[in-house]
């Protein structure tokens, strides 16, 4: 022992080396077990199969408790190619009513990426209940096939397609970006279905099943303690009056245009009509939807366009109401103010033109829709002494107008609304040169023409402000969600326009009442109802003028505000006014007695020149 005593020191090197390995291994373990969680995920993917139970989408119910949208069960036939055993292909093809080539094509698709032979993929989508019943009876013979229950939308009436929107398969990008969705899931694509997707969709139920290395299902994972049940989506209580909606659609039948009806004291949208439209039932179900959608998308009349939110129109004479309010607010006119009108606006040699009417004071100018009066009003507002330049004056006018809603998104709960346009001063600088324009250069803005563009919803909102004498609630189409009935606070907040004095509003409302009594809409008087309104005729460079009418009723405690535009239908009194008047009658009395008028309107179609639509498509 003493001879090799010097070697004893080597035991420390050996022990140190051993301990070094132990430490390295401990660190490595700490890294893969505690630090790096990708392995944990990989283990779950390996052994757990998530079976998804799709929840029922929430219903949509109208303001009177009538169902608008419900669900219908549908069944996807799923296949896991690896599990197919001794398949009697011919019998299965016969059962499914497909050819053998089609069968092989689908199996091939299910095997190829992104599908996988060991994972279930869809063999046939959205089979009807009857087909499901017929096939499921003998499906047990075909190993590897099973039904996955889904639900499809069911619309009780073929109306309100634009408001309700539709449901379709989620896009690849969305499925990647949002962990809730997997490819093949459904998602609201437009309308209420889109904006209230989070409420409607509910929560998918997930059942974790354990699989072995061959992807065979062994049983529930941890006795199902991790499993969740599907939670149905919340029901939505729409502010729509589905009967009024249907009636409006009938009135606009054959015509191109939009109607917006709002309850002014709440901002609830009662009806939102865009014509031409389509049956929402035609956009249900995979194959059928694709075909219908392609057809609608190609249609030159743009039935998919929601004109009530996206159709930007010159408001025409209806815009004079704002001029009257702003000028009063600035102390420039009062009830007795009179402006000269000699068949047109005198400073510009009678342009814009005006029709024959007597000398009118402020309410009279509204009732008779005097162009000259409002050209003066516009000029007076912009040219006030207190402004140093035309820019200050113009910007003041623009700010005042925009406080009523035009020029920006109203913030409604429906997607894709357009802001319209109230041109900026810079815009006119570009056209006429810097400093080279005067109020008279752009005076047609005062009568709602030129570059001024509003969407029908904004028109209706202006009338809400007038009916409320100064304020509005952001128009919205859903008034309650689920059992709690709570909607976003922003829809319960009063927004005030820049003009707040009730007297100014009364002056304008007087004129609007006269409009029905002896003014431009005298022919549309509704017996027993004091209605207020204003005609408009929006000049349209692409064809005949658009017929515009806005109004509310009854005058005291207004219940309904309406804005209607009928494209290329000419003067506001001929088409838009009777439509609004019939809608008012229908909503306030529950029935319509002027059947002749109703019949004439429903049965008349008004063609829109193709050129005008092309323009819209490109805009």
């Amino acid at each position: 022992m003493s001879r090799n005593a010097y070697l004893i020191g080597r035991k420390f090197y050996i022990i140190s080396f051993f301990l070094l390995i132990a430490v390295v291994y401990t660190l490595r373990l700490a890294y893969i077990q505690l630090w790096d969680d990708s392995y944990d995920l990989a283990a779950k993917n390996n052994a757990l199969r998530r079976m998804v139970e799709y929840p029922f989408r929430g219903y949509i119910i109208d303001r009177n408790g009538k169902p608008i949208v419900q669900n219908e069960p549908s069944f996807d036939l799923m296949v896991t190619p690896k599990e197919i055993q001794n398949c009697d292909t011919l019998a299965l093809c016969k059962l499914l009513e497909i050819t053998k080539t089609e069968f092989l094509k689908r199996i091939k698709k299910a095997i190829q990426a992104p599908n996988s032979p060991i994972k279930p993929s869809t063999f046939e989508k959205q089979m009807s209940f009857t087909n499901y019943a017929r096939i499921s009876e003998s499906l047990f013979k075909f190993k590897g096939f099973y039904f996955q229950k889904r639900s499809l939308r069911k619309y009780f009436k073929p109306v309100a397609a634009h408001v309700l929107g539709y449901v379709g398969e989620v896009s690849k990008e969305k499925a990647l970006a949002d962990p809730y969705y997997k490819e093949g899931d459904y998602i609201g694509i437009s309308g209420i279905e889109r904006s209230y997707e989070a409420e409607l969709r509910g929560k998918k139920g997930i059942q974790y099943l354990v699989t072995d290395v061959h992807n065979k299902i062994i049983g529930p994972y941890r006795n199902g303690t991790w499993d969740t049940l599907a939670v149905p989506g919340n029901n939505l209580y729409a502010s729509l009056d589905i009967d009024l909606q249907e009636y409006g659609e009938q009135l606009l039948r054959g015509k191109t245009g939009a109607i917006v009806a709002i309850e002014p004291e709440t901002g609830e949208i009662l009806a939102l009509i865009s014509s031409p439209n389509y049956d929402p039932n035609s956009l249900i179900g995979g194959k059928q939807r694709n075909q219908t959608f392609a057809r609608l998308n190609k249609d030159s009349t743009l039935p998919l366009l929601n004109r009530a939110l996206q159709g930007a129109y010159p408001p025409g004479s209806t815009f004079k109401l704002l001029g009257a309010l702003i000028a009063q607010h600035d102390g420039l006119i009062n009830r007795t103010t009179v402006f000269p009108c000699r068949g047109g606006y005198p400073p510009l040699n009678g342009k814009p033109k005006c029709h024959a009417h007597g000398v009118v004071n402020l309410p009279g100018s509204v009732a008779q829709s005097c162009n000259s009066y409002y050209a003066y009003v516009f000029k007076t507002i912009v040219d006030q002494n207190r402004f140093k330049s035309v820019y200050d004056g113009y910007n003041h006018w623009r700010d005042m107008v925009m406080s009523f809603g035009p020029g920006h998104h109203l913030g409604t709960d429906l997607p894709y609304d357009k802001p319209g346009n109230v041109p900026k001063a810079e815009y006119y600088d570009k056209i006429f040169g810097k400093g080279a324009w005067r109020p008279n250069t752009v005076v047609s803005l005062g009568i709602g023409q030129a570059e001024l563009l509003l969407v029908p919803l904004q028109m209706a909102n202006i009338i809400s402000i007038i009916a409320n004498k100064g304020y509005y609630f952001t128009p919205h189409v859903i008034k309650g969600i689920g059992t709690k009935h709570a909607i976003d606070k922003k829809f319960k907040t009063q927004h005030w326009a820049a003009v707040t004095d009730t007297n100014y509003y009364n002056m304008v409302i007087d004129g609007m009442q006269q409009c029905f009594e002896n003014g431009t809409a005298a022919a549309e008087k509704i017996s027993g109802i004091i209605a207020c309104g204003k005609t408009g005729t929006a000049e349209n460079p692409h064809g005949k003028d658009h017929s515009v009418f806005v109004g509310f009723a009854p005058r005291h405690h207004p219940k309904i505000v309406l804005a209607c535009i009928v494209e290329n239908a000419g003067w506001g009194g001929t088409w838009a006014a009777p439509i609004v008047s019939l809608m008012m009658e229908r909503y306030l009395t529950g029935k319509v007695v002027r059947l002749d008028k109703e019949k004439r309107i429903m049965e008349t179609a008004i063609k829109v020149p193709v050129k005008s639509i092309r323009k819209k498509r490109s805009a």
């Binding site: 490595r28 392995y39 290395v213």
Partner: protein
């Protein structure tokens, strides 16, 4: 205290306790790895865990027999035992059955014995016998290659004790893993005086081999030359031994290019194992990379406390191949988590270091050398087995001592360990 005449007098209780803990834990993990609800009874001898229990009981009997035998038996019969097992390892090639391309099993009915597992203790005994009472000579002061070779003759001879069976197991039986285990005896030689340069040299070759597989030979060559110049100009600064250094550089560069040649001569599956470890080329996680990847997933998904006994999804549904044998550590990692894993590692290393401590307290060189042999073998098995499960070492199929399923393995380790326990217990009786 029991009487001094008792067979169990003086045995190291800590060692036996760790042994028992490992064996029981191993059995529970084999049960978990093979677990099947249809055969949930742990004593079901139609299942591997039932059989493992029988192996374990057999191992206990073997342990007792070894404790009963006089320690002098092992010293006296070291060479005959070695010779017997060497012959068995050669005979097995002719008599044994071929399983998965290797001929290393004696089979009688259902029961198989792998002599390669047992030769480890025999080599330990023979080496101990040979090396006791002599020092491995260092040839530092000797001039001339042949002379220095001759001076170190007992080192070469000692190496033959494990190199011969290594070659037999590798070449004849085609059991690479079990053959490689025998290189662990180098540690014993080191303790007994082997010049450390041999070990550094071997280490150096391995490092260059791995580096030259991971990077292109040109890069390695250039960086070696760079390092070499740096060393010469800034560290060495004197050029006395220049020839020697230049030769060393030349050798390394030859090695760099030789490594690729060596690699290409490996068997395909060995090559892919290297590739998987080094992340060379494209490793397909569904094919060649499957084992290692699944092993890592199993362990990695365990977390701090593990998924709980019999709750491991990776383990239970057989995602890791060979889980009850070579990849048993995955079960520990998945079901017992980080805590369980470090306990197993700690137990193994405590055992190994305990054995070294015991070896160092022996009066006889024989017992000390044998003790080092036991520690080295256990160390190699533990390091390589856990290292491959953790993805740190290439896949070399050797069992985790006392843990892995298999009769030969558990018996061989028991014999290996208990001979040392017996030698240690008798340390006061054995003279050097």
């Amino acid at each position: 205290m029991r009487s001094e005449n008792s067979y169990f007098y003086g045995i190291d209780r800590l060692t036996v306790l760790i042994y028992l803990l490992l064996v029981v834990m191993g059995w529970l993990n084999v049960y978990a790895a093979v677990y099947d609800e249809k055969h949930a009874v742990i004593f079901d001898i139609s299942q591997k865990y039932g059989k493992q229990l029988i192996w374990i009981l057999g191992a206990f009997i073997l342990a007792i027999i070894i404790l009963i035998i006089d320690a002098g038996f092992f010293t006296s019969f070291a060479y005959p035992i070695y010779a017997l097992l060497l012959i068995a390892n050669i005979l097995v090639v002719f008599i044994g059955k071929e399983i998965k391309g290797s001929r290393s099993w004696f089979r009688v009915g259902d029961i198989g014995v792998q002599p390669a597992e047992f030769i480890k203790f025999a080599i330990g005994l023979a080496l101990a016998k040979f090396l006791s009472n002599q020092v491995l000579h260092d040839a530092k002061s000797v001039k001339g290659i042949l002379k220095s070779f001759w001076v170190q003759r007992n080192t070469w001879f000692a190496m033959l004790f494990f190199v011969v069976p290594l070659l037999a197991i590798k070449i004849l039986q085609n059991e690479t893993g079990l053959a490689l285990v025998l290189t662990a005896f180098i540690i014993v030689l080191y303790r007994e005086g082997l010049n450390v340069n041999y070990i550094l040299f071997g280490f150096f070759i391995i490092v260059i081999f791995i580096f030259s597989l991971s990077y292109s030979p040109i890069i390695i060559t250039l960086s070696s030359i760079g390092l070499f110049l740096f060393f010469l100009l800034f560290i060495q600064r004197n050029f006395k031994n220049l020839t020697r250094w230049v030769l060393a550089l030349g050798f390394s560069i030859m090695l760099v290019f030789g490594s690729n040649e060596m690699y290409n001569r490996l068997l395909p599956h060995q090559r892919t194992r290297m590739d998987v470890l080094l992340g060379r080329g494209s490793v397909n996680l569904k094919k060649e990379g499957y084992n290692v990847n699944q092993a890592k997933i199993a362990i990695g998904s365990g977390g701090l406390f593990g998924k709980g006994y019999l709750q491991g999804t990776q383990t239970k549904y057989h995602f890791v191949p060979e889980q009850e044998t070579d990849f048993i550590f995955c079960t520990v990692g998945e079901e017992w988590g980080f805590l369980g894993s470090i306990i197993v590692i700690a137990l193994h290393f405590t055992l190994i270091i305990r054995i070294i401590t015991l070896a160092e307290r022996q009066r006889s060189d024989y017992s000390r050398i044998y003790g080092y042999a036991v520690a080295s073998i256990l160390f190699f098995h533990v390091t390589v087995n856990i290292g491959m499960a953790l993805g740190l070492l290439p896949v070399i199929g050797i069992p985790l001592p006392f843990f892995s399923y298999g009769g030969s393995s558990i018996w061989a380790f028991t014999v290996l360990l208990f001979i040392f326990i017996k030698l240690d217990a008798s340390r006061l009786l054995i003279l050097r």
